[in-house]
């Protein structure tokens, strides 16, 4: 209804604020999703088992890195500033790998969105996974949708049976939540040792605090907030709504086929007369199973997390009444119109958008793999002294000081020599150098260590550079002959 309204046409009552959009927050209405079985439910169970299995047990997987190095496959070792992931060991200087991972994660989410809408939400998001698990527990103890609704509505929660049910449910929830928090801290320390320490109350305070925090968040978010998180707290639905396009496969009710809704009998009668009849029998099964409590037949909506459970529900119904399945299915709006026009549906998952996303992932991932494969085990970083930036010596020569950090990522001590390529005839002095061969200082660097050195580079007066000239620092491993280099500048006052 996009009529143009001229100001003269407006009557006073038109100027009243119109509350057309409803409130931004609807009061919480408890959702009682019904159990359902089918393809998507099976996929969800499978993914849930996989994700939780990885999360809960990964810290216990061992990986041999040799004597003296931690043997935990995945370990974030804060105190020693190391990150271990199977064969990968990262140093703080290499945090850019995490930037890469974040880029891949973000673009991966975009790609998923371009292919299947909010499927991340429906299948892989931790909020979904844990909520699903909590629902399973709830269903097991309190029964399915109808029973739970009846129990909650009966207004008689004080019966012993009901109380024991609730106590049992909440204890199991808390146990799951507690284990969730517990597994988290295991990533930051040697898991078996930490488990032992935690049980004997010898664990670090920080571990207990984190377990408490994650227990509390898991318990409240998966036990009580549930779909509220997806609808109100999470920013992704808004972002994805802005990113999606008409080709993404979203859970879609085929209203062209379903409407108008009628009973099975009426539909059969109409069909017998050769007249069109809708397939939807308005049994509301799709609504009953929906974990966010919406009616997908109202069209695509922000609250839908694309879990596909309504598809399973409706497929069951359709099979029962002998109509073709996928009245609700992963589809796009284009196809509804095409079908109405008698054209075959088209799916385009490979399109500029997905190609670009996949390309970005490939490039960033490729760069990371390349960087990892060529990762050098000897590295040098240089920082020029800022204050003072250059010093004049009594004979008129100029000296610049640098902080040089040498990283030895090898598992053994190394002797390194330092030389520079800078202003002509310049000399280099390392404060505290272990020994000095005729032309260059040498230093021993411990295994898996960094050493911070103070380097003084002096250029004689006649070679004082006018302004600033580049100077290269070469760090040579005497034993292996490996060289690492870094560049900075030599400045005159």
């Amino acid at each position: 209804m996009n009529q143009t309204v001229r100001p003269d046409d407006l009557k006073p009552q038109d100027l009243q604020p119109v509350d057309d959009y409803g409130p931004l927050y609807a009061a919480h209405k408890k959702v009682y999703p019904q159990s359902v079985s089918g393809t998507f439910r099976r996929i969800k169970w499978g993914l849930m088992g996989f994700c939780l299995g990885v999360y809960y047990f990964l810290p216990f997987v061992r990986w041999n890195r040799g004597l003296g190095a931690p043997d935990q496959a995945v370990l974030i070792d804060f105190s020693n500033h190391r990150f271990y992931f199977f064969f990968i060991e990262l140093w703080p200087q290499e945090v850019y790998y995490f930037t890469g991972l974040l880029i891949i994660a973000a673009i991966g989410l975009f790609l998923m969105n371009a292919i299947g809408g909010r499927i991340w939400c429906g299948y892989l998001c931790p909020q979904t996974v844990w909520t699903d698990l909590f629902y399973a527990v709830e269903r097991l103890i309190e029964g399915d949708r109808r029973e739970r609704m009846k129990k909650d509505a009966s207004g008689d929660p004080m019966k012993l049976e009901r109380i024991s049910e609730l106590v049992l449910k909440h204890s199991i929830w808390l146990m799951i939540a507690w284990w969730t928090g517990g597994a988290w801290v295991l990533y930051f320390s040697d898991a078996p040792t930490l488990v032992k320490d935690l049980i004997t109350f010898q664990g670090p305070m920080l571990a207990y605090v984190w377990i408490a925090i994650l227990t509390a968040t898991t318990y409240t978010l998966a036990g009580f907030m549930r779909e509220q998180v997806c609808v109100y707290m999470c920013p992704w639905p808004r972002i994805q709504a802005a990113l999606t396009d008409e080709w993404a496969l979203n859970v879609t009710y085929r209203y062209d086929r379903g409407e108008s809704r009628m009973s099975v009998k009426k539909a059969a009668e109409l069909r017998a007369l050769g007249q069109p009849a809708g397939d939807c029998i308005d049994c509301k099964q799709c609504v009953a199973v929906c974990p966010t409590g919406i009616d997908i037949r109202d069209g695509a909506q922000m609250d839908c997390i694309q879990c596909g459970l309504c598809i399973d529900a409706c497929d069951t119904v359709m099979t029962k009444i002998g109509r073709p399945t996928r009245l609700i299915g992963y589809d796009n709006d284009i196809n509804i119109h095409r079908r109405q026009e008698g054209k075959p549906p088209i799916y385009k998952l490979v399109r500029p958008r997905t190609i670009v996303y996949a390309a970005i992932i490939a490039v960033v991932g490729g760069a990371m793999v390349y960087k990892l494969a060529t990762r050098s085990l000897l590295e040098v970083n240089v920082l020029h002294d800022r204050n003072p930036i250059a010093i004049k010596l009594s004979d008129g020569s100029i000296r610049n000081a640098y902080t040089v950090r040498v990283l030895n990522k090898h598992g053994f001590d190394r002797v390194i020599a330092i030389d520079i390529e800078g202003p002509a005839n310049s000399t280099v002095h390392v404060v505290g150098a272990d020994s000095v061969t005729p032309d260059r200082p040498m230093i021993v660097i411990g295994r898996d260590q960094t050493e911070e050195l103070r380097l003084l580079v002096t250029a004689p007066e006649e070679n004082n550079p006018a302004k600033s000239i580049p100077v290269k620092f070469h760090v040579t491993d005497i034993g292996l002959g490996v060289v690492a280099s870094a560049t900075d500048n030599f400045v005159s006052p």
């Binding site: 204050n387 010596l393 000296r399 002095h429 404060v431």
Partner: protein, 290 residues
């Protein structure tokens, strides 16, 4: 007072009965949870007064139930720190200056400690990077008024320069002009002579011979025959390129006329010997030592 049970027709809320210029106040009580929270904070505050030191008395303050004090807390933490650092610091305390320079781990520790202490105590005059300023020596270069060996630096740190400490380093640039020892013309001449020694351009037509004579008669006692200075007296080398107060003619005339007497405080008694040792090592390593 109007009728208390009057109900506002628009909002359906009762009024309090207060009215100002015909505007009536709605009776919208604070939410109960808010009120309860407020009461809890009051109870909490009272408990706090009792448990913790809270109220000032004339000469002191209430001590609280458990005698808690944040000062004691800090004391415990410092003691803990001391325990953790103890062994390394003890090693630092007993090691000789030369030993520290030879042991990379100890050198790193001393440098780190020296750096913080330098920032707290020395940076005010010498700058955070120890680059100095006019009248405050740059500690990164190789020109040392009182000597740049580890021991010499340590001594300067301990006793200072003209600091009033009994063992302080003492030396003086006399005020040749003010005291009437030299006439203004002689001062200009000797200032140019000194500039010539350092390889700096001189005033056209200045009499080098006269300058040498004035210098020989007045300056060699401290600065030496060859003007190379004397660290025993803190007399600077006048032939190099580093000038504490500046090398231009006007500054030199000012120096010769009024003299100079920069002061460096003595740190003995203010900082413990280990800290001073660490500082000496740090300062020594700034310019690579001498």
């Amino acid at each position: 007072m109007a009728d208390h049970t009057e109900v506002d027709s628009v909002s359906g809320t009762p009024t309090t009965g207060h009215a100002w210029d015909g505007i009536k106040e709605l009776n919208t009580p604070l939410p109960r949870w808010w009120v309860i929270t407020f009461y809890i904070t009051i109870v909490w505050a009272i408990g706090y007064w009792i448990v913790y030191p809270a109220w000032p008395t004339i000469s002191s303050n209430t001590q609280g139930l458990f005698g808690y004090s944040s000062r004691a807390d800090v004391g415990v933490e410092l003691a803990n720190l001391e325990k953790i650092r103890g062994a390394k610091m003890a090693a630092l305390a007993t090691a000789s200056l030369a030993d520290i320079e030879k042991d990379p781990a100890m050198l790193a520790l001393a440098r780190a400690k020296g750096k913080t202490v330098f920032g707290d105590n020395c940076a005010a005059c010498h700058g955070t990077g120890a680059a100095g300023a006019k009248g405050f020596p740059n500690l990164n270069d190789d020109d040392w008024l009182w000597g740049g060996s580890l021991e010499q630096i340590q001594q300067t740190l301990l006793y200072g320069v003209r600091s009033g400490h009994p063992k302080t380093r003492e030396g003086q640039m006399l005020a040749f002009g003010k005291d009437g020892v030299l006439k203004p013309a002689e001062i200009v001449t000797v200032a140019n002579y000194v500039r010539e020694l350092a390889g700096l351009p001189t005033r056209p037509g200045y009499d080098a011979k006269a300058g040498a004579k004035v210098f020989a008669e007045n300056c060699v006692a401290c600065h030496g025959d060859n003007a190379k200075g004397n660290p025993e007296l803190g007399a600077p080398n006048l032939t190099d390129k580093i000038w504490l107060y500046g090398s231009d003619e006007a500054t030199l005339i000012e120096t010769i006329t009024n003299g100079r007497a920069g002061v460096m405080p003595a740190w003995e008694g203010r900082l413990d010997p280990t800290t001073i040792k660490a500082m000496a090592v740090y300062v020594h390593s700034l310019g690579g030592g001498k």
